[in-house]
Amino acid sequence: MPTTKTKTRAQPHKRDLRKPVAWNLRLYVAGQTPKSVRAFANRKAMCEEHLKGGYPIEVIDLRKNPQLARGDQIVAIPTLVRRLPLPLQMIVGDLPNSVLLLVGLDLRKVA
């Protein structure tokens, strides 16, 4: 798409830097609450759209593994943690607004 091209050109160095870096996303949920389900659906859609499904999201159910909440300092649910690339980013909420999400994750649409 032409629009994507211009955007890519707008920040060429960022793209280049990010390419070799592996992505690591974690979504923390607590059981199958409507919020969790919604968050997971939104996330999946986002990844497929922006990362072309190449970066799977690790979903952690804190009801099953409560001790994991301590590691990433999870307080609110759902929380999406971008562990890689650094710096660590956390996004709280069920993510209905993908623009905010993108800004938060520093993601841009890919072609």
């Binding site: 923390y28 919020k35 159910d61 804190l62 009801r63 409560p66 649910i77 956390m90 709280v92 909420g93």
Partner: protein, 604 residues
Amino acid sequence: MMEGPGAANANPPEIARGKRMKQMKKASPPSSKTLPKASTGIQGLDEITGGGLPRGRPTLVSGGAGSGKTLFGLEFLVRGATQFGESGVFMSFEELIPDLTANVASLGFDLDRLVAEKKLFVDHVSITRSEFGETGEYDLDGLFIRIADAVQRVGAQRIVLDTLEALFGDLPNPGIVRAEVRRLFNWLKQKGLTTVITAERDQADRLTRHGIEEYVSDCVILLDHRIREEISTRRLRIVKYRGSTHGTNEYPFLIDDQGISVLPISSLGLDHAAPVERVSSGISRLDGMLGGKGFYRGSSILASGTAGTGKTTIAACFVDAACRRGERALFFAFEESPQQIVRNMRSIGIDLEPWVGKGLLQFHAARPTYGGIEQVLLLTHKRIISFQPSVVVVDPVTNLLMVSTQNEVRSMLTRLVDFLKTQGITTIFTSLTAAGSLEASEADVSSLMDTWLLLKNIEVGGERNRALYVLKSRGMEHSNQIREFVLTGDGLRLLDVYLGAEGVLTGSARVSQEMREKAVVTFRRQELLTQRRELERKRRIFEARLVMLRAEFEAEEEIIQQTISQSELLGEEVVQDRGQMVLSRQADSSSYKKEGRAKVAPTR
């Protein structure tokens, strides 16, 4: 990844039910009507609250920066784990765990050991705002799960959230946080956890910064740290305690190497026992002045006087006597160091050092300016409780005025006296009075005292001498005499003073008076002797005269007797001669004889 929610969801309620049942079993109090309470183990707090914090309910502990909220929470958990067998969870929203551990290690709490023994679980919840973007609705299930996990790990019955309000600062959308905090409290209650939530107080008219007190309706405790006249005092007040009576005053509290201690003031009533046993004052003459037996055990004695009248000495004598009896004595010295007191007392023949060595005597020397009056009181209490003495000296109480107002000192002393009486401890308070107002003790505490010894300097003949009298002594007969009080190299002695036309005589004046009197006595004695001798002499003269008179008399008697017998002889010779004449004249012998005899006698 999200399969099997049923199994996962079933977990927490089960834990909760188990816990509740355990708690119900444990919390069954003797009277089912009273609210079940969880003992805090914090000295004094359980007394004020009538047993502790409401069991299974949240308690809000609010206070300004540095008022001891975190410590309160930690002590609640540590005491719970070590003294009451209730494990706990500490959720720290502010301090990091290593910092926390280090901070309370100085108070004798070994968090690491408790954590290793699975009696305590410490978790640090850090929320850094910069890492957040907000993209929609959320809840605090993450936190709930963490708490539930921590509670499950150690089987906790107590939990502290320090300071929960950090959530408001760091999470977006305060509306959601507020709703979630409310849910959290309900959840904690439902789980039957005895909870302490700390909150920072930033304004005088508000308890918490974000108004979370409206969710905590059971018990609210306010900690305060105020500075007045450069001296800080910590105070604690129970703002509310639903379903329970509680002390409503502001109670001073202290943070020291044993954690928090709260001093309940008004819980002490006037119902202490009144022993009839007497204890010696250590000065036999003073005992004599007090009905011959000394003070009542458990009474409070005030020794007041101007500077240098021997107040400390009287106290030291008393301590010495107590130690001789094998009792323990505690000496609070607010003016002198223990070494100084020991040295000074040695100069008058009282050696306190062996008692210190034997552990019978303990000194506690500190300037009261070290802390506020409440701190002094608390320290005194703690020392007394740990040492369990039967005799206490507070020397002098007037030094406390340096750190506080007269009213406060009086109320503090009231509390101290009550406390000492309940413990049955005999106490000597010394009080420095300004010259001129002898009978008004500086801190105006005389009405609290059972016995009041007044020491004064009497100035006569260019010298000052010490005098002592018993101003009052409740419940015993006591002397109304002033005694002179002499410090000698081998102890303290009380002597009679002279009361004459010139007033009270002491010291040299007394000595000269004594000499004068002695001279008079000697003179009188000599005079008496002289008179006796005179009498003896007179008697001897009289007796000599008597002998002489008798001799004279005897001599005269002899002469007279001789004369008489001569005369008789003479008379008979005349009659005989006449008879012979009659015979010779041939007259009537018989009648003439009679007549002649009768006529002869009167003629003599």
